[in-house]
């Protein structure tokens, strides 16, 4: 069932108004307990804990719960763009959309496609580090709005890699054309500091955080058609249906509230966390209490663990990947201090489940399922955090 895209609460909000879903109180206590247990056992941990993760992945169920679509999100963005497009006042010549990190669905490009808008693609990243501006090939034609799907791909965090990104920002701010700009939250934070993006462009908007109810609507398994039995999803610990509601219409169990909190209100983070937590009873496929109902089981998966003894290097690398929304292995050393073994860290973080490599483009990105752990670790190490 798709979310109601006409509801005002679905539409965009100011970036400063973004509020992450709160976790139930007992969930925070449990997480603290897990943390303390992990700290006390830290000395005996291997540098990369990957064996246990492989076992968990082998058990996780992939086929009974089809992947939910992101069309609803695209619908909401397209609807917002439609309203903005109709407003031709000069005050709203540029619209900036800050998206949560780890977005891989190319939402902005889908929106541009629906409206038939021209897209301005970034130059290859290796051309950005020359110290001089790479020419910006602005699309011509009749399109009244130009879409920049990923502003974060227009710079490289190197003293010679900011010129082109700055030039693009100045062109957008000073020209007469209309721009619809998508940018990752970490990159927006960095560009605001390094290129005065917050001064050149208007205050950005973002999508509201996804709470438990919205996740329930989005993740609920299909009711079943033809001879297929409906699927119920139950907690491993108590066997309660995670989608069940009480007489007031509120979710009876806290699992989805915990999932919303763990995923920081980001749907593409919630999806892999949900997948990672799914289990099946090996022998029978999970017979539920009701006849004709097939039961799946869900728990909270195990969080990946950063390499012991290499925490600072790992966090520097992960932070660089977040700021740039992905980098190739040969681009990473340019953005990091010279003292770190980038290749070794990439191997360790890949095995531990923190990063993945895009098959076609070859760039490394932080995996959505690992983002909450990475964000927490960066905050605890003293980094400045974006709102998302």
């Amino acid at each position: 069932m798709m979310p109601d895209t006409d509801a005002p609460e679905r539409l965009l909000i100011a970036l400063g108004d973004y509020r992450r879903p709160a976790a139930p109180a007992h969930h925070a206590v449990e997480r603290l307990g897990d943390r303390v247990r992990r700290l006390l056992g830290r000395d005996s941990a291997d540098a990369v804990q990957d064996d246990r993760l492989r076992r968990e992945r082998a058990v996780a169920l992939q086929d009974s719960i089809p992947a939910p679509g992101f069309d609803g999100i695209v619908d909401a963005l397209a609807a917002s763009l439609h309203d903005w497009r109709a407003d031709t006042s000069s005050a709203s010549r540029i619209r900036v959309l800050v998206l949560p990190p780890c977005e891989r669905q190319d939402l902005m490009r889908q929106v541009a496609g629906r409206h038939g808008l021209a897209v301005l693609d970034p130059p290859p990243r290796h051309t950005l580090n020359g110290g001089s501006r790479t020419p910006i090939a602005e699309p011509g034609g009749e399109s009244d709005i130009v879409v920049v799907p990923r502003l974060q791909h227009w710079f490289l965090r190197h003293h010679g890699g900011l010129a082109t990104g700055r030039a693009l920002l100045h062109r957008m701010a000073s020209g007469s054309r209309r721009w619809f700009v998508g940018v990752d939250a970490w990159s927006w934070r960095y560009l605001s500091r390094a290129a005065h993006a917050d001064l050149l462009l208007p205050a950005p908007l973002t999508s509201p955080a996804w709470d438990a109810d919205r996740l329930a609507e989005w993740l609920a398994p299909p009711g079943g058609a033809g001879g297929d039995a409906p699927v119920s999803v139950r907690t491993v610990k108590g066997g309660e249906d995670v989608f069940a509601r009480d007489e007031d219409g509120a979710l009876s169990h806290d699992y989805l509230r915990e999932l919303a909190a763990r995923s920081l209100g980001i749907p593409w983070v919630a999806w892999p966390l949900w997948q990672r937590g799914l289990r099946t009873v090996p022998d029978e496929g999970g017979a539920g209490p009701d006849s004709g109902t097939r039961a799946l089981w869900v728990t909270h998966g195990i969080d990946p663990v950063l390499p012991a003894g290499h925490l600072t290097g790992a966090l520097l690398l992960l932070q660089s990947l977040l700021v740039h929304d992905g980098l190739r292995a040969e681009e990473l050393p340019v953005t990091l201090p010279a003292t770190f073994e980038v290749e070794a860290l990439l191997c360790a973080l890949d095995r531990a489940g923190f990063i993945g490599q895009h098959v076609a483009r070859g760039d490394w990105t932080v995996l959505p399922s690992a983002y909450p752990v990475v964000r927490t670790a960066l905050a605890e190490a003293g980094w400045s955090m974006p709102p998302l």
Binding site: L39, G131, R157, H158, H159, G161, L162, R189, Y190, R193, A194, T312, L316, Q319, S320, T335, L336, P337, A338, T339, A379, E380, A381, G382, W383, S384
Partner: protein
């Protein structure tokens, strides 16, 4: 006027008949106090390394406070066991104590009292990077009498608290989790100062160690031998200050090289104090 026998009698009245049980109790209390102080210091120092960076200095700051509390509690427990606490006895003790402190232990007492003052005034705290006289380093341990300062060269220097009576104490972070780092560059000959200044600003902006919430400054001043550029910025954690300065210096020199700017080399220029 008291004679010697009166004084002896007075001291006898002052001290309780302790007995074996009393001695055992004193030993146990002292041992417990020492163990508590030692264990709490180790636990808190371990905790400081695992809690979020912003909480680290607060946790370290509780170590000397806890030690003082345990010490006072131990003394308060033991004194009634040893001494018969009456007003006259307290006056008698205070008189004797003042003579002893005045001659033999005045420096120790001065340092201990200064240590208590430090807990309230906080010219330095555990985890702070401070300069006391010629010495600059991190306050790793605050004892009752002295602090242990670890310098950038990993030397441990013990400095008595009573130095605060007569010397100024400079703190680079004053309890904050970051501090200003300065990378210096020296240029000579004709060059575009504004361009170099902007380039050095970008060097700081593109450092992986940078704290984005703090300002970046490039201060330029002219000298007979050339132009000095001071790049001032903050790392996201003060423990990385030297790596941050190294990163700024290496990349800043690369930028100067790329711009074709000659570095000034002035033999005999006095070395900046460590960390300054």
């Amino acid at each position: 006027m008291e004679d010697a026998s009166d004084r002896v009698e007075r001291v006898r009245q002052l001290i309780n008949d302790i007995g074996l049980a009393g001695v055992v109790e004193i030993v146990i209390v002292v041992a417990l106090g020492l163990v508590t102080i030692s264990m709490s210091r180790r636990v808190l120092e371990w905790l400081a390394d695992v809690v979020p960076s912003r909480a680290r200095l607060y946790v370290l700051g509780t170590v000397p406070v806890l030690r003082l509390v345990v010490l006072i509690a131990t003394i308060v427990w033991i004194v009634p066991i040893v001494f018969d606490i009456t007003l006259g006895n307290v006056v008698f003790i205070a008189g004797g104590l003042s003579v002893a402190l005045g001659f033999a232990f005045k420096d120790v007492a001065s340092s201990v009292i200064a240590g208590i003052v430090v807990l309230f005034e906080r010219p330095y705290r555990t985890g702070d990077w401070v300069r006391i006289g010629e010495d600059y380093g991190e306050v790793r341990h605050m004892g009752m009498r002295a602090i242990k300062l670890v310098t950038p060269n990993d030397d441990v220097i013990t400095i008595a608290h009573d130095r605060i009576w007569g010397e100024s104490v400079g703190s680079s972070n004053d309890g904050a989790s970051t501090l200003m780092c300065v990378a210096r560059f020296y240029a000579c000959g004709e060059h575009d100062g504004a361009h170099l200044r902007a380039a050095l600003q970008d060097v700081a902006l593109t450092s992986a160690w940078l704290n984005l919430d703090q300002p970046i400054l490039v201060i330029v001043d002219q000298h007979p031998w050339g132009t000095r550029y001071q790049l001032k910025a903050y790392p996201f954690d003060l423990r990385h200050q030297f790596l941050f300065i190294t990163d700024l210096t290496v990349r800043g020199r690369t930028v100067m090289h790329e711009l074709g700017i000659r570095e000034a080399i002035v033999p005999g220029l006095p070395e900046s104090p460590a960390g300054a």
